[in-house]
Symmetry: C2
Subunit: 304 residues, 2 copies
Amino acid sequence: MQPFEIHILGCGSALPTRKHLPTCQVVDIRGKLLMIDCGEGAQLSWRKTGLNWQHITHVLLSHSHGDHVFGLPGLISTMGLLGRTSPLFIHGPAQLRPFIDFILSHFCNDLGYKVHFEVVDTTIHALIFEDRSLEVWSLPLRHRLPCCGYLIKEKPGLPHIRRQMIDFYGVPTWALNRIKAGDDWQLADGTVIPHERLTTPADPIRSYAYCSDTMPNDELVPMLKDVDLLYHEATYADSESTLANKYGHSTARQAATIAKAAGARRLLLGHFSSRYDDENILLAEAKRIFPETTLAYEGLRITP
Amino acid sequence: MQPFEIHILGCGSALPTRKHLPTCQVVDIRGKLLMIDCGEGAQLSWRKTGLNWQHITHVLLSHSHGDHVFGLPGLISTMGLLGRTSPLFIHGPAQLRPFIDFILSHFCNDLGYKVHFEVVDTTIHALIFEDRSLEVWSLPLRHRLPCCGYLIKEKPGLPHIRRQMIDFYGVPTWALNRIKAGDDWQLADGTVIPHERLTTPADPIRSYAYCSDTMPNDELVPMLKDVDLLYHEATYADSESTLANKYGHSTARQAATIAKAAGARRLLLGHFSSRYDDENILLAEAKRIFPETTLAYEGLRITP
């Protein structure tokens, strides 16, 4: 299986606590690093991941609240100091452009690489970018200001060659890519060896969805259908559902209800309000509706 | 003695390491908290100090490099979320005004307190502000852009009443403040009890100076005369003096030379380049010239 791992750098909400940092995640997928949100301290806790700064190709931002973007100035500057030359693509709502322009014009005059900001339409579910192995889609969220989540999907891979069958039929190396691509193989005597006999199926494709910050949004259900891992904010417990509604957030139960309706395989809760010393109340409330739920924490590494 | 303590929140340089955070300090003086510089993570490591956010009255900024100010957006926002109502005074070079204006206009629309930015002339040694018990002075530094340090001085206090003498002579309470202020006391029989007999001397006044970032600047010597504690940047060891000069920084030896020339009581080194896993080389080079030198570290609490 190709690497596909999410590193949680921060899963607190606006008020930092001794336990939690503001929101930041890194998705390590097939050697590409995608950062999702960039709260203050992102570049500081980055070091603990052992990942290589220069492998960050894209930063995906959800919205323009400080606890999701205040780590960006430090991140951009530090990658410059470390001699980055490859361009960095930042995606997010249009409201973030002035912030990024300001950082670049006031603090990054001698930056050795280009920063490209690409506006995400927070009202639709659209393909943001893709390469040979992955697709990144936007997810419309409902918060106090324009906000979007992201869906990261592997593309179907090729089947695996069955080495012993290849040897047995004496298939030459030059033919292997064509067989991987679906061809059968014809022996000298005309016998046709079907593709299926020469290969084992491709790895199953995996997907990860990030939904924070948002009120429960049923519109997401079809977009999240069968997602392997869903990170959904659960700022509050049920007892605070009025606050959740007032501030455009979700309760753990509401997050679990979305995960269940979408048929997600697993749910990861985050963006915890600082009022909870023990987040197991959130976990319990979610598990009643969706048993495959876990709590995020700083340092967590999880595979979809 | 009245409290006067410096908390080191960060003493690294531009590149954060596993060991060091960007520059930030808090001076706790007689119940007032003055923050000096505000690198990324300031509000995160703040929590470890156990100090009360709302007691920060002033933030003193040295210059507009990111590793000294990227913690400011988070600090300002968080104090708002925590319900601050008392004004916050930020002092620093004029180049910082656009940054502070941007934070306030883009991220702090519903801030419950006023932020006042007061420009510091980085070319002169001038009184920035004072109250009944302390004075804060600017210190002109020499860096790649306008930069200033700060000198924090206690004002002379009043002598202490000698309780047993007051009782012995039956001095009434109403007279005590006048005696503290310097009066003698006359008994009913006309005998005059001199002020000195009724009091013990006031506490000695203490001072703290912050000099970062800067090249060695002899102009500082008279301004730092007899300072109790001098924090001076020591980004590099002697072997890197060319780099120090190129980037507008000091070596440990240069910091010690300033401390010695000024007759400082103690020297605290900081703003360490990320290249030094072991900063004892900096300590050793400084001690050769100024023995009363120590290394700063995150979590250090030190009294002038």
